[in-house]
Subunit: 909 residues, 2 copies
Amino acid sequence: MGKKWVYRFTDLDEVESYVGGDWEGVRGLLGGKGANLAEMVRIGVPVPDGFVITTEACNEYLSLGERLPDGLWAQVLESLKAMEEETGKVFGDPHRPLLLSCRSGAKFSMPGMMDTVLNIGMNDATVEGLIETTGDPKVAYDLYRRLIQMFGSVVMHIPDEKFEEVITRTRISAGVKSDTEMQAEHWKGVTEEFKNIFRFHTHHHFPTEPYAQLQMATEAVFMSWNGKRAIDYRNAVGIPHDLGTAVNIVAMVYGNLGDDSGTGVALTRSGTTGAKQIEGDYLTNAQGEDVVAGIRMTRDLSDLQQEMPKVHAEFEHIAGLLENHYREMQDVEFTIENGKLWMLQTRDGKRTSQAAVRIAVDMAQEGLITKEEAIMRITPDMLDFFFHPQFDPEAIGAAAAENRQLAKGLNVSPGAAVGLVALDADLAETWGKEEGKKVIMIRPETRPDDVHGMLAAQGIVTSRGGRTSHAALVARQFGTPAVVGVDEMDIDLTRRQISVGDTIIKEGDCISVDGTSGEIYLGEIDTKEPDIKDKWLLTLLDWADQYRTLGVWANADYPVDASRAREYGAEGIGLCRTEHMFMESERLPFVQNMILAEMEVQRTEAIKKLLPYQREDFTGLFRTMNGLPVVIRLIDPPLHEFLPDHISLMRDLADLKIQLQHAPSLEAIDDLLKQVREKEKVLRRVETLREDNPMLGLRGVRLGNHFPELPKMQVRAIIEAACLVTREGGDVQPEIMIPLTSHVNELKVQRQLLEDEARIVMEEQGIEINYKFGTMIEIPRAALTADQLAEFAEFFSFGTNDLTQTTYGISRDDAESGFLIEYMVHEILPENPFETIDYDGVGELMRIGVEKGRKTNPDIKLGICGEHGGEAKSIALCHELGLNYVSCSPFRVPLARLAAARASITAQP
Amino acid sequence: MGKKWVYRFTDLDEVESYVGGDWEGVRGLLGGKGANLAEMVRIGVPVPDGFVITTEACNEYLSLGERLPDGLWAQVLESLKAMEEETGKVFGDPHRPLLLSCRSGAKFSMPGMMDTVLNIGMNDATVEGLIETTGDPKVAYDLYRRLIQMFGSVVMHIPDEKFEEVITRTRISAGVKSDTEMQAEHWKGVTEEFKNIFRFHTHHHFPTEPYAQLQMATEAVFMSWNGKRAIDYRNAVGIPHDLGTAVNIVAMVYGNLGDDSGTGVALTRSGTTGAKQIEGDYLTNAQGEDVVAGIRMTRDLSDLQQEMPKVHAEFEHIAGLLENHYREMQDVEFTIENGKLWMLQTRDGKRTSQAAVRIAVDMAQEGLITKEEAIMRITPDMLDFFFHPQFDPEAIGAAAAENRQLAKGLNVSPGAAVGLVALDADLAETWGKEEGKKVIMIRPETRPDDVHGMLAAQGIVTSRGGRTSHAALVARQFGTPAVVGVDEMDIDLTRRQISVGDTIIKEGDCISVDGTSGEIYLGEIDTKEPDIKDKWLLTLLDWADQYRTLGVWANADYPVDASRAREYGAEGIGLCRTEHMFMESERLPFVQNMILAEMEVQRTEAIKKLLPYQREDFTGLFRTMNGLPVVIRLIDPPLHEFLPDHISLMRDLADLKIQLQHAPSLEAIDDLLKQVREKEKVLRRVETLREDNPMLGLRGVRLGNHFPELPKMQVRAIIEAACLVTREGGDVQPEIMIPLTSHVNELKVQRQLLEDEARIVMEEQGIEINYKFGTMIEIPRAALTADQLAEFAEFFSFGTNDLTQTTYGISRDDAESGFLIEYMVHEILPENPFETIDYDGVGELMRIGVEKGRKTNPDIKLGICGEHGGEAKSIALCHELGLNYVSCSPFRVPLARLAAARASITAQP
C-alpha cells in the first residue's frame, strides 16, 4: 500500500500515531483548520463530514512540478465514497447532491492569503435537482452562480470584478438595493452570464463534471501556497516556506433551506460580564453572511429554546463539550440544516476585561483550569478596567440605538471621557485650565507643542497616527483616554468643525470618547465609576497573594492614601514623601522663614515651629498603618521649590516700583518700600539658591548635611509620633529613609547625627522604638558602591525615577514633552524608560546594587519606590532581581499583586 | 657570654648578621639615627666615634621595671674604653676630656618627642682642664652650664624656665642682647646658679661623676619612650608602642675651639637649580646653632677652599661618597674641630621642582640611578613649576634683603601672584572684573558666598584654615595661587587694613603672594615666565615616552592649540569641540537664525551658511596635525546656549517699552516696535527651549537626531576639509565623535545618516577618506551597554566630566561653588571627583565600559577626553583600565606623559 495522503476527520487517532502523538505534528500534517475540525469530531461535536488532503501531499505535488502524487486521487475518491455513505448524499447526483467546500488550511493561520471554493458539485443537472427537492430556485441558482464565480476567480484567475459587474448591472435593472432581494430569475440570468464570462476568459466551457471541479480546485489550493501574496505574507510574518498547505474537503450545509434551518454565532459565556450563560444571535432560514450583514434583525439565542428546543439543548451540550475540551470560553459559528445542528468553527472568544476576570475565576472554581492558569490569563493591564471610569454599557446601548455612534479608531489609552471639542492646544488649555471646562482635544495629529493642551484635556482624538504616535504615547503617559487614527474624521481647522460623512461636529460641541473600545459618540454618555469590589477580582487577587513572593507596598503621604492602600492590599508604606507636608498653606510661611533666615538661631526657630505639624502627620500615618512598616523619606527637594519663582518675583518688583511712582501718600510710600525690601530679600535668596540643574543639585541627603537641623526635626517628629502611638497600644514600625545618597560618607555622617537625635527623643519619652535606617538608591554611584552603603543601611529602596534620569542622562520633566516622545515615535527608543524600567541600563545597575548590597548584608531589605513599582514588566524585573517588595501608588496595588504573582508563576521551573 | 646590648658604629656587619641582613632590622635594633651613623662610618665618612645601646636594651630595661639588664653597663664601659683609644681622649680626664652626647633614636623618627643630653663628662675638674687646654673659659663654662641645664630638665624634670630665668637676668645685668655676647664670667656665674637650682629642686648635688651622668642620662632616654608626649605622638602617627628607643652615645665635637674650627650645613647639589655643585654656608669658630641663628653673617662654602683647602677637598670627597651611597642629593651638617672635619648628619636634601628634575636626570646620566628611578622621583605635580609663572629668585632675594618679606603661611596652590589687596569678595570682583585691576583677595577665611571674588582675583590669602579649607580647595580648583593659615596676619575689616606685627597694609596696597613657597611680600616682585624648554625636563619626558604604554593626546579646538599640543608632545587631538567655533561673532548670527527659523527651509539655509566656516576650521586643524589622528566631536551643547539669556531679554523688553512711552516721533515708534517684535520672538524661542535641567536635556546626539541637518553639515565640512588637505599631500586621520549617547539606537541612526553624507561628499570630491566613527561614553547607561554601542563605534572616548556629573548626580557648575566644597571641607568626600576620577564609582563604570566594549570589539580604540585626562591619579587609573590614550589640555600634556610613564613603571611586576 502506498503513502497515505488523505485522512478523514474521524481518522485523528491514526494521524496522531503517524506523527508520533504530538499535536504540533498533527497541525503540521492536517493544517490548523483540519486539525481543529478533526478535534471537534473526536469530542463528539457534530461537524459536517469531510476529509483532509495533507500538507505532505501539497509539498509532493509542488515538488513533482504540479502533478498529483500517485495514489492521492484514489484515496480522495475512497474518502468521498465514505462521505456519501455517511451523509446519504451522492456527489454529482441531481436529486441528493453532495456539495463540497474545498479550503486551504496551513499549519499557521494565513488569513485571506489562500484560496477557497464552495458549492463544488453544482452544475446544470444538480441545480435542477435541487430546485426539485427544495422547491427554492432562488437558493439553487445563487449556489450555482457562486461556484462559477469562485471557481472562475480562484482556479482560473478571472478578475473577480468581471463577475461583480454583472451582479451590479442585474441589481440595478431589477431595481433592488441588495443581493438578498434578488429573485430566482435574476440569479438564473447571472448564472448564464457567468458561464459566458468563464468561456470568454478561459476559452473553455465551465466544467460541469463534479470530479473535475474537485480536482481542479484542489490543485488550485496547492498552487496558491506558492502564490505571490502567500509568499509575501510568510516573509513578513516569518513562516517557513516549506510547510505546505493542507486541503479541507467538507460537505456543505445550508441554513437557508427553510424554517427548520438557520445559522448563528455564539459565545459560550457572556463576553461582557463573564456570566456563565450562552450568548448569541441567530437567524432562521438564512446564511452565515446574513447574520453579519445586519439587514435582518437577528434573534437572541435564548429564543431558539422555544423555536427548536432539541437543537437548543444540543447546542448547550456542545458548548459544554467545547469548554471542557478547550478549557476556555468559545466563540462558535453554527448552522442548522433542516433541524440538524452543525458546528462550523470554534475558537477562543473575545471578552471585556471584567468578563475575562470572572471567566478565569469561575473556570478555576469549576475545576476546569488551575488557579495559576486563571492568574496567567489576566494580564495586569486588564485591571485598568476596574480603576478607570468606563461608559455605562446600557448608556452605550442607548446611544447606539439613537445612532449617536460617530466613528471608531484605535483604542490607544483606556477609559471614558466626555467633553467639549477643542481643535487646538491653546483653546484646550484655556477652556480646561482657566475656565474649568471638560475638553476633548481633537487634532489631525499632535506634536510636542500640543502637550500643554493635552494635559488640560479629558480625552484626546486624532484623525491620523497609530499606536506609537505622539498622541498615543502622551495620552498613555498621562492616563488620558485617547483614540487615534480615526480616518473617517475630516477636520476643518478654518471652519473650526469636524465632519464624519454627513455629520458635522462644531468646535464646542459635546462628544464622548471611549478609549477602551476606540468608539466616539455624539453627546454625553453616562460613565460608571470603577468597581474595585468586584467579587471575582477580589478572589483572583487573593489567589495572586498565594503565589507571589514579592511584597506589595504603597507610596502614600497622608493617612487617607494609606488607608486606601491598605484596603487595596498594601502590606506597608514604601514611600512617604515628607516635602508635600511642607507645602500646606499654614506651614509654608515657616518653611520660607527657615530658608530666608540669616542667622542660625532664626533658622532653628522656624524649624521648631514645623515640629508639631510633622509629628501630627506621622501620628496619623502610624495609626492607619498599625502593625505594618512605614518608610518615611526625609526631606528631598531643593529649597527653591518652597519659594516663589524668579520671574514672578521680578515682575512683582517691577509692579511695586511703578506703584511707588504713583503713590498717593507718604504712608503708602512707606508701605510700598517695605514690600519692595521684603521682595528684594526673597529675590536675593532665590538668586543664591538658583541652580543650573536642580535635579543634580542641593537636595536629598546633601540638604540634610547642609541644614542638619531640618532632618533632625523630622526624626524627632517621627520618633515622638511613634512613642505617642505606641503609648496608645499601636504597633509602629518606622523606617527612616535618606534620599539621594551617592557616597557612603554622606550616609554615615547623616545617620550618626539622626541616630543621636532619635536616642535623645527615646530617652525623653522613656520608650524604645524599633526603627530602621535605610537609603534610597537613586544615583548610579549608589548602586555601584552598594557594598559600602550596606554597611550603614538596613534597607535600600530603589528610586527608579531619578535612577533612570541619571543613568540615561535624561531630565524627565523636559524630555517627556520633548525629545523622548520624538524618540519613541521614531522608534529610536523601544519604550519609555520612565514607564518600564530600562532592562539593559537601569536594570543592570539595580542588579549590581542588589548583589553588592546583599554581599555586605545578606539580610538587607530591598524594595523599589519609583513609579515603576506599579508597572507589570518592571515588577517582573524586581521579582527576577529578588527584591523584597515593590511600592507603588495605592491605585496600582492590585495590579502589582497580580503582576507579582504572574512573575512568580512564570519563573517556576 | 650574655646578650649583646651595645654595638659600636663600626659593628654594622655584626648587627646585620644578627638581624638577618635586613636593613629594616638594623633600623629596628639601632634606631634610625644609630643605623645612619653606622652606615656613614661604613662608607668611610668621618663621624664622631660612638656606640648604640639597642632598642632591645630599652625594652628589657622597661620590662624589668626600669632596671638596666645584666651585662649592659659592662658593655657600655667596654665601648667607652674603645672610644677613648680611638679618640685619644679620656672620659672624665680633666686635660683630655672625652665629652659625650646621649640621644634617643627610635626606628621611626619622632621629632622632639624624646630626650637628649649633651656635654656629658663636664664637671668642675674638666671645666678647669678645658680652660687650661683651650684657653677659652667662656666656651668651657658655656658647655658646663648647658650640661647642667639639659641634665636638670631632661633627667631630673626641673622646669626649664627656672634655668632660662637665670640666663635672662644675667643677660640684663650684663647689658647684652644675646647669649653669644655673654662673657666667661657671666657663664661661670650662671653655672653656679644652675648648680643651686639643681640642688634646690632635687635635694641632691649635681652629679659630677661622669659615669653617673652617663648612666642617669641613658636611663632617662629609656624612660622617655613611655613619656606622655611620646605615647600621644605614637598614637597620633600610628607607631607601635613596643618598638623601644635606642640610645646613641657619641663623642662631642666642637666647632668653636678657634679659627681652625667651624661648623656648617650644605647640599651636595644646588637645591635651587639642581646644578652639580656643592652649596652651603659655614662659620668659623662657631657652634651649629650660630649658623641657624643668623646673628653672624655665614660664609659661602666655596670660601672654605681658600681658608681650609684640605678640609674643603675632603668635604667634596665625602659629598661624593654620600651621593654614591644614598643615590640622592644630600643635606649634611658638619663640624670642623681643630682642622678635623666631622659629619654629624646626612639626609636627602630638599629642592625646588626644577632642581629635582635636573638632579634626577643628571644622576641617571651619571649612572647613579636608572631612568625608571629618575622618572619615579619626579611627581607629576612638580611639573607645575614649569608651567606656572614663578617669582624670579633674584627678585625674591632682593625683596628679602629689603625686609619686604611680610609673612608665611601654607602653600596650598602654587604660582606667583601680584595685586592690590581687596578685603572682600564684592570689591575683588569689582576691581578684578569691572576695572580690570589685578587683585589679591584677603579674608580671615572664605565661604561659598566669596567664590565670585575668588574667581576675579589673581591670588588668595586667608589668615585661618588649613590645606583642605574652603579657600585652599577653591584656589586649587581654579589654579589660583593661594596661601592660607597666615596666622601672623591680623585682618581689621572695619579699618580696612591688615597688620603683621608693626607693619600695616591698607586695602588697595600692592603685595606679592608666592603660592609655591607660602611666602607673602610687600610690593611687587617680578615674575619669570615658565621655561618649558628646560633641557633636563625635555630629557626626562623623552625617557617617560620610552616607558609609557598609554598614548597622550590633547584637547584642542583651534590650530594654535593643536600646534602647542604637538610641541608639548601630543600624539593626536582627542577632542575638538566644535561648538566654540559657532560662538565667534561673525558666525553666531547664522547659528541664531538656524535656531529661530520657523520653516525647515530657513533652517537649512542658515546651516548652509555655516559650512564654509566649519570647513576652514577643520582644514586648519588637519594641516597642523598632519599624520596624527584628530577626533572631532559633533555639536554638543543645548541650543539655548547660543541665544541671549531669559532674564536679560526680559529686561531689554521692559526698557524698550519704557522708551516707547517717551518716543519722540512716529518713526522712532516704528523702529522701537520692530525691535520689540524681534526681541519677543527671541524670547518666545528661549522660553520654548528652556529646560529645567539642561545638563540632562536636548543636547549631544539628541540634538543631532532632532536637527539632522546640523551634524550632516559638520560631517560635510570635515570630509571636504579632509579631501582638501589630502589633495595638498597631507595625511589626514579624522575621527568623528558622537556625544552623549545613552542608547545604541541613537548612535545607529545618527551614524547611518552621517555615513551616507560622508559617502556623498567623498564621491563628489573623488577622494576616499579613511575616517573613523565613535562615540563618547559620558552617560552611565552608555558604559553599562558598551557591548551594544561597540557594534557601531570604532572608538570610545570616556567623557569623565559629564560621566562624573551623572554617576554622582552632581551638577558641577552648581556644586563646585556650593555643597561639594562644603563636603570636602568637612571631609565627607576625600577628594573632588571632578579633579580626580572617583575610583569606586566612575572608575567602576569605566571598567564595565572597557570590558563590555572590548568583548564586542577587541580592537576598539579607547580614550578619555575629560579634564581628568591631565591628572596623575586619574591617568594611573586609565593605565590600569588599559585605555589606549588620555587626552588633556595642551598645557598638561607633559604632565600626562610623565604620569603615564610612572603608572607603567609602577605596574611592572
